[in-house]
């Protein structure tokens, strides 16, 4: 993918669809991409896309109700858009999607001491960083976020314009393996593990804010009547926060990793989310964000859904009130 093509295509979209604004990325002073709202054809000359981006841009969509919005979207972002459309958060005709290929996004926490260096460029499975006068070249594969390593929909599923280019193939299956390894631990060990993770959380809600599927105007975590948990970041409270958020995302999460990258404390959100999605897909054969018009998995039911309830399967001849 060439940046020139991207700029031209986005400008074309902006012009043809008479857009009010365009969501994309631009280079920050550190060289890493940062999200940007472009409001004119000229400003779009700065639009850019590479593995140094981090946020899922669809998280900004509910902010622009009633506006005609353009957006660049790799696979995961396009899937979040599908969900936002299905859940009535944006109408398809106000949305213009420029599909982009994706090689995966860098998890800056993996950069460790290199965190603050300048990002220069990424090509052919490598990326370059600059520290002082020194230039370091690193293999992309080692620094991609966990969600991207496991991504099985790197190409956009919904678009009006498409930028040609190659997307990441061969999901590593690492996350799946990690989830499996966790499942194989004893419940006690798992509890210990997740309590440790919960302990790290400082309840800054960056994960929620970075997630396109967390668009609620008021979130349960801040509700004071009823108050489900306190604002004290203690383990039990944090577990309620993390578990309930993950539950709200079961079958809705597109595993873009935006939340995990945004978390300043490196809480292991991905294993929980992956497990929730896996449960939904095993129980109800459901993949989030692939089809327009589909209802959320937990917003519908089938008569023949699996039944693990005590007394289940005893329906025949045990009717009451009818």
């Amino acid at each position: 993918m060439r940046t020139d093509d991207l700029i031209l295509k986005c400008q074309e979209a902006f012009r043809e669809k008479e857009l009010d604004l365009f969501l994309g990325f631009e280079r920050s002073s550190s060289g890493f991409l940062k999200p940007a709202v472009f409001t004119s054809l000229e400003s779009l000359e700065k639009i850019s896309w590479d593995p140094s981006a981090s946020l899922n841009l669809a998280t900004f969509i509910p902010r622009f109700k009633g506006k005609k919005v353009g957006i660049i979207a790799p696979g995961c972002v396009s899937r979040s858009l599908v969900i936002l459309i299905n859940e009535g958060q944006v109408s398809r005709d106000r949305l213009t999607v420029v599909g982009v290929p994706c090689q995966g996004l860098i998890e800056r926490k993996k950069l460790g001491d290199l965190k603050g260096v300048r990002f220069l460029d990424s090509q052919n499975g490598k990326f370059t960083l600059q520290r002082g006068g020194q230039i370091v070249e690193l293999p992309l594969e080692d620094y991609l976020s966990e969600s991207c390593l496991d991504c099985d929909h790197s190409g956009p599923v919904l678009y009006d314009y498409l930028i040609e280019g190659s997307s990441r193939k061969n999901p590593s299956g690492n996350l799946e393996k990690r989830v499996k390894a966790l499942v194989e631990l004893s419940p006690g060990k798992r509890l210990l593990y997740f309590k440790k993770e919960a302990e790290k959380c400082i309840r800054c809600y960056a994960c929620r804010q970075a997630c396109p599927m967390c668009y609620c105007e008021s979130c349960f975590v801040e509700s004071s009547e009823p108050r489900w948990l306190t604002a004290v970041p203690e383990v039990a409270d944090n577990l309620i926060w993390l578990l309930t958020r993950v539950y709200h995302l079961a079958g809705r999460c597109v595993q873009c990793g935006s939340c995990a990258r945004a978390c300043p404390e490196g809480v292991d959100l991905m294993s929980l989310l992956a497990w929730a999605n896996q449960s939904v897909s095993e129980l109800f054969q459901y993949q989030p964000g692939l089809e327009i018009g589909e209802k959320p998995a937990l917003g519908e039911y089938r008569l023949e859904d699996p039944d693990f309830f005590w007394g289940g399967g005893l329906t025949e001849g045990k009717k009451c009130c009818s």
Binding site: A36, G116, C204, Y205
Partner: protein, 336 residues
């Protein structure tokens, strides 16, 4: 104010003179650098510590603390004060500036905050002058580092084979005296030997006066642009060394309860939401304006020091990649 020169070994020995204090230093744990209790024996000889992920405020003004306990129908207002004595070693000069800003808010204006006050009285803050800049910090543009004492009780300079300790604190100067080979009465940082200090090549950031910043308060376009990609999370304000806003909740258990306070953040929608449903800061534009002007106009106007320390934590942590340095430049560029 005293300036003491000690042999490196002697300083480490002298630190044993504080038996009633628990030691805290920045310690790496996984990806994070935490302020953890340590023993004064295992200190690194070069006295170099990483910058803590969260700022030093968490030891003086923790994210959550109990203010008092009460019984139904007979509320007791006796504050629960933290009596632990701590010596925090290895902070950066910018951290000490942050504490100074907290002191301005909690101790210099009525009502004085008893919780912070007691902790501050019980804490010795010892910073180490920075030998190099971090990638994201900019204290040199703000006049708050990397060699300044700021709000610390002592600052340590690396003089190669020896160390220099500048302190305006009775306890520290008294207890170090016998270990020093040279003692000098001085008036400030500029009169002492500081070893080599880091050099910056880029141009300093343009910092305006509180009044000049205030004059931009109605410039919607400016704040709109700055806040357009902000997510409204609180990672910046929670980690910020000078953000001191808190919220209060009661936690009950039968007829007993406790009142706690936890960090709050002006970046949350809920922060200014009124019971009527009206929100005087309805969008991120107003919230960003508040965050910026509080640090660069209101605090300097009220207390004579900047409300930003230049530590760069918010830059490092912001999931939207918003860079305070860029914001400072954008604001300065905006026509007044």
């Amino acid at each position: 104010m005293l300036f003491l020169k000690l042999a490196r070994k002697k300083l480490l020995e002298a630190l044993k003179e504080f038996p009633e204090y628990s030691f805290y230093t920045p310690k790496k744990e996984g990806e994070r650098v935490l302020l953890k209790e340590t023993s004064p024996d295992g200190l690194p000889e070069d006295l170099r510590f990483e910058r803590s992920t969260a700022s030093a405020k968490e030891l003086l003004f923790p994210q959550a603390e109990t203010m008092f306990y009460f019984l139904r129908y007979k509320p007791s207002q006796k504050p629960v004060l933290d009596e632990g004595k701590r010596l925090i070693l290895g902070l950066r000069p910018c951290d000490a500036h942050g504490i100074q800003a907290l002191e301005a808010n909690f101790l210099k204006v009525e009502p004085i905050d008893p919780y912070f006050k007691r902790r501050r009285e019980n804490t010795l803050l010892v910073t180490v002058a920075c030998l190099e800049f971090e990638d994201n910090c900019f204290c040199d543009s703000l006049g708050s580092g990397p060699d300044r004492l700021n709000g610390a009780d002592a600052i340590i300079y690396d003089l190669n084979d020896a160390v220099g300790v500048l302190s305006n604190n009775e306890i520290i100067s008294q207890r170090l005296k016998d270990y020093a080979f040279q003692i000098q009465e001085v008036r400030g940082e500029d009169e002492v030997e500081k070893g080599s200090l880091p050099q910056r090549t880029v141009e300093p950031l343009p910092i305006l006066s509180p009044e000049e910043y205030l004059s931009l308060i109605l410039e919607e376009k400016l704040w709109d642009k700055i806040s357009s990609t902000c997510l409204g999370c609180a990672s910046c304000t929670y980690l910020c060394p000078t953000c001191y806003c808190f919220d209060i909740q009661d936690i009950n258990y039968g007829p007993a309860g406790k009142r706690i306070r936890t960090y709050d953040s002006c970046m949350f929608n809920l922060y200014t939401l009124e019971a009527s449903g009206h929100n005087p800061r309805p969008t991120l534009k107003e919230r960003w304006r508040q965050r910026f002007l509080h640090k660069f106009s209101y605090i300097p106007y009220l207390h004579g020091i900047l409300g930003c320390t230049g530590c760069g934590r918010c830059i490092e942590v912001c999931p939207a990649g918003i860079d305070m340095r860029e914001v400072i430049k954008d604001v300065a560029k905006f026509p007044r």
